[in-house]
């Protein structure tokens, strides 16, 4: 495998957890709910997935557990913000803090466990084509799943009535309520989907990408996913673009060292975070872009009696 193919593969791998988490958060935010707990949901997803995979020996059982665990975390958030009308920012922060603690607690016995990871799908013949082969036909199954989910989310948002409704609820929950839609119930579903996707992102990290369990192994990826949603101006296509861009930046730090450029590793490790700030500034500069694209009711509690 040549270097180019290797770099692209590594970039895709580093970007995929972000794809899952950011697509999930995109749907959550489209419904008008801001869940800042992505980091916590990813971590709990990662550790639960890893633990089950290590104990049962089945990677796929681990993936399913991670999805369920992410959704369970999101359920806590949904109950707080949707049923108990709690502040979404505070609840999201609480979820992240809780998730960090909980994942460290669950993961105690698994820090030195090794997993085999997930074998790439190798379609015979096709995957042997130089460059294109491994990139198109030799990826791991979860990566194909991420492409499928991207397609599904795009179709849902722009081609289905349910997606139209979701956008409407994020835009004007009062209108949706007035014409008879159960705003709270639909927001619950959106938040749960976001949690399941974050769990999946965590699972990818712990079961495929590394595959290891390390405390706080997401290292801010949940927050980067949140930033990606803003960067994408709430459009799935740009989420993908942004995720792989960040994958590339993450990979860059390893290759810079490989190229013999002598920079302290800490400075290189800062790159993804600094890049996040940089793109956020770029996209937020034009206030109208945000105002036209952001779901108008984002972050605001909705109570049907008003």
């Amino acid at each position: 495998m040549d270097t180019f193919t290797a770099i692209v593969l590594a970039t895709l791998g580093a970007g995929t957890p972000l794809v899952f988490a950011a697509l999930g958060e995109l749907i959550t935010e489209k419904s008008g709910v801001l869940n800042l707990g992505v980091e916590g949901m990813m971590l709990v997803g990662a550790v639960c997935g890893f633990a089950v995979a290590a104990d049962s020996g089945s990677i796929w059982l681990g993936v399913l557990t991670a999805v369920a665990a992410g959704a369970a975390m999101a359920l806590v958030f949904a109950v707080l913000t949707l049923t108990f009308q709690a502040n979404q920012v505070a609840s999201g922060l609480a979820l992240t803090i809780f998730g960090i603690g909980l994942s460290a607690f669950i993961g105690l016995g698994y820090t030195s466990v090794a997993l085999d990871g997930m074998d790439p799908v190798r379609i015979p013949v096709l995957s042997d084509i130089p460059v294109v082969g491994p990139l198109l036909f030799g990826l791991d199954p979860l990566m194909y799943l991420s492409f499928a989910l991207f397609g599904a989310v795009t179709w849902f948002l722009y081609r289905s009535k349910a997606g139209l409704l979701l956008r409407g609820i994020g835009e004007a929950p009062d209108s949706a309520h007035a014409i008879g839609y159960p705003v709270i119930r639909i927001r619950y579903l959106a938040v749960l989907f976001g949690g399941a996707m974050a769990g999946l992102g965590g699972a990818y990290l712990a079961l495929v990408y590394t595959p290891l369990w390390v405390e706080e192994m997401t290292a801010g990826r949940g927050w980067i996913a949140l930033a990606l949603v803003v960067f994408s101006t709430w459009r799935p296509g740009r989420v993908m673009l942004g995720a792989y861009l960040f994958g590339g930046v993450t990979i860059l730090q390893f290759h810079v060292q490989g190229l013999g450029i002598d920079l302290p590793s800490q400075l290189l490790s800062m790159l993804p975070y600094l890049a996040t700030i940089f793109v956020l500034v770029l996209i937020s500069r034009d206030i109208n872009t945000i105002r036209l694209n952001a779901p108008a009711s984002i972050g605001q509690a909705f109570h049907p009696s008003n």
């Binding site: 409704l165 004007a172 007035a178 014409i179 839609y181 109208n288 105002r291 036209l292």
Partner: protein, 582 residues
């Protein structure tokens, strides 16, 4: 699934009965049941609802017909208020039935109960003689109830057809739906482009979207909540034509309003509400405006004392060619606005909402400060204030009552005392950066007492007050700071009649003391009642002013659709002089 079956069986039974009834009436075989629903809606309605729907086109009140809708003993209690208290109501097929009452009488709550948005705590709803429980709007629509909301239930960033698709229960086919929208909107004279984004529509067009959305589902009962508040007098005429036509086709209409003349003109019957209760039923065509008013508020409509304006006031507020691009992507740009308000007069600006009022107010109040090079476009008491913030403008004598009471004019979760501090802090309430609590409370108490604000004292939080009392507090807070220029936006919007009179009288008294008053309102009646001169804002342009006594609602209404003569150059202070004065 379960409740769907019952109405079907019921329908079949009714249909059979009326079919025979029709045969009797026409004496021949009748196969109308096969006709498409849209074209023979009225006939179907006859078949489903009894002959009353047909024979009573001019006067639906025929004896012995099952009412389309009947409410019995409807009661709804909110934590602070009994919104509906044992309300009974009957609407006949094809009847235009007014529900009349002032703000806070419980009309909107009642309509929400009928449409299934809110659940009643007690009472029964009957539909075509059959008791039903309307659990949600979707079920209401299945029964044949449509509702046009006062504050529209539309999604701004979606197109017309997307908006409508969300409210109809049929397979998701936007192209087919768009064709039907065009069809229906043409048939009823409500032109609409289904592909346009809602935020680009005027309020009148938005109302059309809501009406067409209802019509697509062949409603048997259409609820209209204060529909004329967003229309010019001319557009009101057209709306009435549409409503009369629907009525003649057998559709009942519940018409919510507090405008007495409209109800007398349009409606067959009126139910009057006050304080959540029904206080009377009447045939509005037989009543006078004042007899309806007595039922509505329990006494004569109060009138403000309004003497002619004193002569020769000085120009206090001068707007000299103000243009600006709205920074709201859905907003209206202001184009060369010129206006002078003198001390001792009230100038009114009429217009349909969304024509630049928000932008004009924000520019005048300073909430959107002008660009530095536009400094000289706004003057208060001879000083150019274009680039000053709201607090600095207040120091120069500007008082401002915004349209939104909760969240802008007052902080909902703060006490009245804290809300007094919001704008009145200049009056000795802050010393060395610290708040002087005693002064704040004294000011709030004075405001509460002077303006008869009914509340639990200065510790009551703003959101616990009724709209009228909070508005009196806000107006009072601004007045007690002795402004020399007062700007009020929709000062009596959503306020009960008593508070509205108090507020209007306070503005007139202010004028009599030599203050320049500018009132921006969508209610023509209000402007004609209190203003000395009137101008109109349309699509961001301001008309010339007219002396109120020399114009009428028809002319101003025409101007509201943008048809007004160009503005003559008002005498403005010399620009260079102003620059030199700095």
């Amino acid at each position: 699934m379960r409740f769907r079956r019952r109405p079907t069986r019921l329908r079949r039974r009714i249909r059979r009965r009326d079919y025979e009834c029709l045969r009797g009436a026409y004496g021949k075989r009748c196969t109308l049941a096969l006709a498409p629903p849209g074209r023979f809606a009225w006939l179907l309605s006859v078949m489903e609802n009894g002959v009353g729907g047909m024979t009573n086109q001019n006067d639906p009140q025929v004896v012995g017909v099952a009412p389309r809708l009947e409410l019995q003993d409807i009661t709804k209690i909110y934590p602070a208020v009994v919104a509906n208290d044992g309300v009974n109501l009957q609407v006949l097929p094809g009847e235009i039935h007014a529900v009349l009452g002032e703000n806070g009488a419980g009309k909107s709550t009642l309509m929400k109960i009928i449409y299934g948005v809110t659940k009643a705590d007690r009472g029964t709803v009957s539909w075509n003689g059959q008791e039903v429980e309307i659990a949600n709007p979707a079920q209401a629509r299945r029964l044949g109830i449509g509702m046009v909301f006062q504050h529209f239930s539309l999604f701004e960033t979606l197109t017309v057809v997307q908006n409508i698709a969300l409210a109809v229960e049929e397979p998701f086919d936007l192209d087919g739906l768009a064709r039907r929208i065009v069809e229906v909107s043409e048939r009823y004279g409500l032109p609409l482009d289904p592909r346009r984004l809602v935020h680009s529509l005027s309020v009148g067009e938005r109302q059309r979207v809501e009406i067409v959305r209802c019509l697509l589902q062949d409603p048997k009962l259409l609820i209209m909540d204060e529909p004329t508040s967003v229309l010019t007098p001319q557009a009101v005429r057209k709306l009435f034509e549409t409503l009369n036509r629907l009525s003649s086709e057998g559709c009942s209409i519940l018409y919510i309003s507090h405008k007495l003349e409209e109800i007398r003109e349009l409606c067959h019957k009126a139910t009057v509400m006050r304080g959540g209760k029904v206080t009377g039923e009447a045939d509005p065509r037989q009543e006078t405006a004042s007899s309806l008013a007595r039922m509505m508020i329990g006494r004569e409509l109060p009138v403000c004392q309004h003497a002619p304006a004193p002569e020769g006031g000085e120009p206090r507020l001068v707007i000299a060619g103000l243009s600006r691009t709205s920074d709201d992507p859905f907003g209206t740009d202001l184009k060369d606005i010129r206006l002078t308000v003198h001390g001792g007069e009230i100038v009114g600006i009429a217009g349909i909402s969304g024509n630049g009022q928000q932008e004009l107010l924000a520019a005048l109040s300073g909430e959107q400060p002008l660009d530095p090079h536009q400094t000289y476009e706004i003057h208060v008491n001879g000083e150019s204030v274009g680039n000053l913030d709201p607090a600095a403008r207040r120091s120069l004598g500007l008082g401002f009552v915004p349209e939104e009471r909760l969240g802008r004019g007052a902080v909902p979760a703060m006490s009245l005392a804290d809300n007094a501090l919001l704008t009145a802090h200049r009056a000795g309430m802050v010393k060395l950066g610290l708040v002087a609590g005693a002064q704040v409370r004294a000011f709030a108490d004075r405001c509460i007492e002077t303006f008869d604000v009914r509340c639990g004292g200065h510790e009551a939080v703003a959101k616990s007050l009724s709209g009228g009392n909070l508005q009196k507090f806000i107006v009072g807070r601004e007045l007690l700071q002795s402004p020399s220029v007062m700007i009020a936006a929709q000062p009596t919007w959503g306020v009960d009649v008593g508070a509205a009179t108090t507020i209007r009288q306070a503005l007139i008294d202010l004028r009599n003391r030599g203050v320049a008053v500018l009132v921006i309102s969508e209610e023509l009646e209000e402007l004609f009642e209190i203003c000395d001169r009137i101008a109109v804002i349309a699509e961001g342009r301001l008309s010339p002013t007219k002396v109120t006594a020399e114009t009428n609602q028809e002319e101003i209404g025409l101007w509201m659709s943008g048809m007004f003569p160009g503005v003559e150059d008002e005498p403005l202070p010399d620009r260079q002089e102003l620059i030199d004065a700095h």
